[in-house]
């Protein structure tokens, strides 16, 4: 659906050249929700904006449905953009137009008649849950409602692709969740290929199928969200994930605890309980569960457990060995 081949974007600032995107290649399949994550300044926003050529790449190709678009201009480019909706962190609504008029503007751009607009817009507004705000101006809406208008405008012309530029970064947790649900819902309902960028793994985890991680303009890692979460390769990925799967044990507990502290990670269907009780029986050790969490990513579980193992040294050693065989990952703390 979307193919980015060796994309580089360079900016020339005063006396210096900044390369925001460095040789990035990425393939996004039809109907996928693809997340691009990275800290601020990683180049993810610039990369996203090359897809609809708001930013022209310095080199590299952008293919949409196998058509190379990076040299498109004027009318040809506008035709392509009609099929690519985009939503923004700060909504970017036309303040002097009502909710209805904002969506109507998008449809006018596509050359839709007044009748078509009058028929289609109420449908879209009800889809995004804004039927009652049809005639309100953006200044009278909350952040979440504004983003819903942004979404309505972006999908008004039935695009094939939806680009989301940090769509929830200015919203509170609850609103974020409802906006993400809406994006996912639209993705499923319309089969619209969605590319979403965020600096938060939590958001990626919630709605994305696949994720690419960026750092300093490089694409450092990509894959299915579950794989990247359960088996992060790169330091920046590990850091980003740590913010979401946060298992901190209070210092006091670490001090008073005798024996070995071990962090176990379970993936997929591995059952937790038998492993622990088996170890206790087999190796004659006592095990205390200090902390634990099960996350569901793309519907699959990943469990993290911090346990303390106490007993004589050989038994502890043996139990750690047998645990290693039975869990996905084991880390001595």
């Amino acid at each position: 659906m979307i193919k980015l081949n060796n994309i580089r974007v360079r900016f020339t600032a005063k006396n210096s050249v900044i390369e925001a995107v460095k040789n990035v290649s990425l393939a996004i399949g039809k109907g996928e929700v693809y997340g691009i994550v990275g800290s601020s300044g990683a180049g993810k926003s610039t990369l996203l904006r090359t897809i609809n050529l708001l930013e022209r790449p310095t080199s590299g190709d952008i293919l949409i449905n196998d058509v190379k678009i990076n040299n498109f201009k004027a009318e040809k480019l506008r035709k392509v953009r009609l099929k690519i909706g985009m939503i923004f962190q700060h909504y970017n609504l036309i303040n002097t137009k009502t909710v209805f008029e904002n969506v109507a503007f998008a449809m006018r751009v596509a050359g839709k008649s007044k009748e078509e607009r009058g028929k289609h817009i109420p449908e879209i507004l009800s889809l995004v849950g804004l039927s009652e705000k049809t005639d309100a101006h953006p200044s009278k809406l909350s952040g979440g409602q504004k983003q819903r208008v942004g979404i309505a405008r972006a999908i008004a012309n039935n695009p094939d692709i939806l680009l989301c530029d940090e769509p929830t970064s200015a919203l509170d947790l609850e609103t974020t969740s409802s906006i993400l649900d809406l994006i996912k819902d639209i993705n499923k309902r319309m089969g619209i290929t969605t590319v979403l960028i965020s600096h938060e793994m939590n958001i990626i985890k919630k709605i994305c199928d696949k994720v690419a991680v960026m750092e300093n303009g490089h694409l450092v890692e990509y894959g299915s969200v579950y794989d990247v979460f359960t088996n992060p390769q790169h330091d920046i990925t590990k850091q980003l994930i740590e913010h979401t799967i946060n298992l901190e044990i209070p210092e006091e507990l670490l001090k008073i605890h005798k024996g070995k502290l071990v962090k176990l990670i379970f993936k997929g269907d591995l059952a937790v309980e038998p492993v622990i009780s088996d170890t206790i029986k087999k190796h004659n050790v006592s095990i205390t569960i200090l902390h634990g969490k099960i996350e569901y990513i793309s519907g699959k579980p990943i469990g993290i457990l911090v346990i303390g193992i106490d007993g004589n040294d050989i038994n502890i050693e043996n139990s750690i060995n047998s645990l290693t065989e039975n869990v996905a990952e084991l880390e001595l703390l």
Partner: protein, 221 residues
Amino acid sequence: MTGEYLQGISQDLLKAFYETFQMVGIALLTSIIIGVPGGLFLYVTEKGLFFSNKFLNVISGFIINIIRSIPFVILLVLLLPLTQKIIGTTIGPLAASVPLAIASTAFYARLVWVSLCEIDKGVIEASISLGATPLLIITNVLLREALPGLVRGLTVTAVSLIGYSAMAGIVGGGGVGDLAIRFGYYRYETDVMIITVFFLILLVQLVQVLGDYAADKSNKK
């Protein structure tokens, strides 16, 4: 003061107001017709916008600034040959309208540019991402979002024009300001000067109140 005298003044005043309206009206109309596209041109040729063109942008900005930096009295005289060509005479309110129109158009074009600069670039970007043509963006986004600013700018221009038009007396343009200068200043008829200045204040206030009202009405946020 006799009744005849007062009647004389009121007739002079009436004529002066008519001339002021004529000059200011022509200049304002020109400002809207040429100043708005001028300000738009200055804006859309800026870096990062859809008709980005450094050369044209610098040139147009330069022309606007030259006109704005020439003192109006000098502009009035400088433009005499042009006025002669356009109007066929260099005397009278119609002739005075030519330099007034040129000065106020440049002034208003800059104000139009200022209001356009206030627009959130993100809104323009969103419109571009929708696939909108430049024409649609100009009519539906730029002019619409900037409308209150454009109205306020026009009010400021109108008030300045009333002031400028006083100098039109040099080419026999007449008008309220000129009346104040001729009778009050040159002929030491202080009472006439006070009366005309009083009416000028009233006129400016009226323009400002109307302008504020229109700006409020046009602000649909």
